[in-house]
Amino acid sequence: MTRYSVFAVAREALRWHSGWERAWKSPAPKKKYDVVIVGAGGHGLATAYYLGKNHGIRNVAVIEKGWLGGGNTGRNTTIIRSNYLQDPSAAIYEKARSLYENLSQDLNYNVMFSPRGLLMLAQTHHEVRGYRRTVYANNLQGVTTEWIEPAKVKELVPIMNIEGPRYPVLGALYQARGGTARHDAVAWGYARACSAMGMDIIQQCEVTGVRTLNGQVQGIDTTRGAIDCAKLAIVVAGHSSVLAEMSGFRLPIESMALQALVSEPIKPCMDVVVMANTVHGYMSQSDKGEMVIGGGTDGFNNYTQRGSWQHVEETTRALIETFPMLSRLKMLRQWGGIVDMTGDRSPILSKTSVGGIFVNCGWGTGGFKAIPGSGWAMAELVAKGEPGPLAAEFGLDRFKEGRFIDESVAAGVAH
């Protein structure tokens, strides 16, 4: 693999960039792999990457129905944060966030992690209490966050109206090392690194069946033929239930559409990420200058990745209240992504009732920020057959035991 650098770009420029290699190979599937990962989104590719890097398992295929990174990895609003309330959540999201810090260098691919700071606005007394509680929790969890007063909020985000008539800003939960990254680049960077380790990334290959024998996985059938495997990792946000059905079990998951939109690009005007949960909206400004806006989830089961309207409207209204200048910008594009909503709105990294099959799903609306940590923990689970500490609390057994990980309690929605 040719290393990327400014020198490599300069060298290639002199020959009109004719010498660049493929970022990842496009092999035909082999008959058998040690591990098959279904889903070449960020989580699936990161799982493969850390299987190779941390556990030396490289006879790995990542199977993708469409194009890699084409699911929620390429549809989210790119927010990265780890200011979660519950210990297991804070642990895995902070692991992810800390891996993001060095991911560009680790992958030799600029994923543009930008720790520009993230604010969660408190606009009711209830939220003030919830976020203060979160700050105390974070400080004990090793997650650096602070409570900031309205004046500091205004200083960080001058375009914000902190004295709205209905929901004035009472302060904010601030994570200075939260931020954003370039979502496609995360998938592409992992794919390139996996390919360089000799793993096969097989796109345009749909799984049509899962073969098991005596409660143990044997392999999968695909539109490009049968593939045997010793272990199978299902990492297909949005389609988890479909793959589970093929494998013979059900998951505590419903698939729903999450709505997002971007404005036309304008010059830089907001350097931090702002989340306003009382009024249901969050926003950041991309490097291209677009205001990237996320909204709510339609409450019904849905597998179409289409934009709907009512959440776009609600979110836009809310954000105009907080950022009055927005009303003179224009919506450029809106879309939907299909998210897995679990029974407690927290993810699942788990063994299943079928030997050798592992699931990584249920990230709901917050999966992008978790990608490196999720891949790290999933790789450990797949390699060892048992969860490590990061994944331990996220098993399916919690739904039977009544041991939930509920993040909505601090008014912190899981975006």
Binding site: R250, L251, P252, T304, F399
Partner: protein, 107 residues
Amino acid sequence: MLTLTCPHCGIRAEETELSPGGEAHLKRYGPGDSDEQFEAYMFARKNPKGVHFERWRHAYGCGKWFLAARCTATLEVFGTYPAQVSAPPEPIIEAIRARRPGWEAGQ
């Protein structure tokens, strides 16, 4: 932006009038039932990509709950019916089969 016809008041209701309520025809398990049964009742969901039986409330209309058979891949609605049944009525099943030949109840 869906429209669903409320079987109680007959209104072709806008999505904004409706509150979704998840999978329909779940059998409630309670005291005396096993952990597995209770877990399945509370959490295990069919979540099919295709025909889905689901609960809706005409929340900003007549206030009644009703059930719908709807395709989650195309959003086509096969029919709506009152919530006071434990399984989809035959006309609904027929409507589904007419448009999804080969579909089997229980899928």
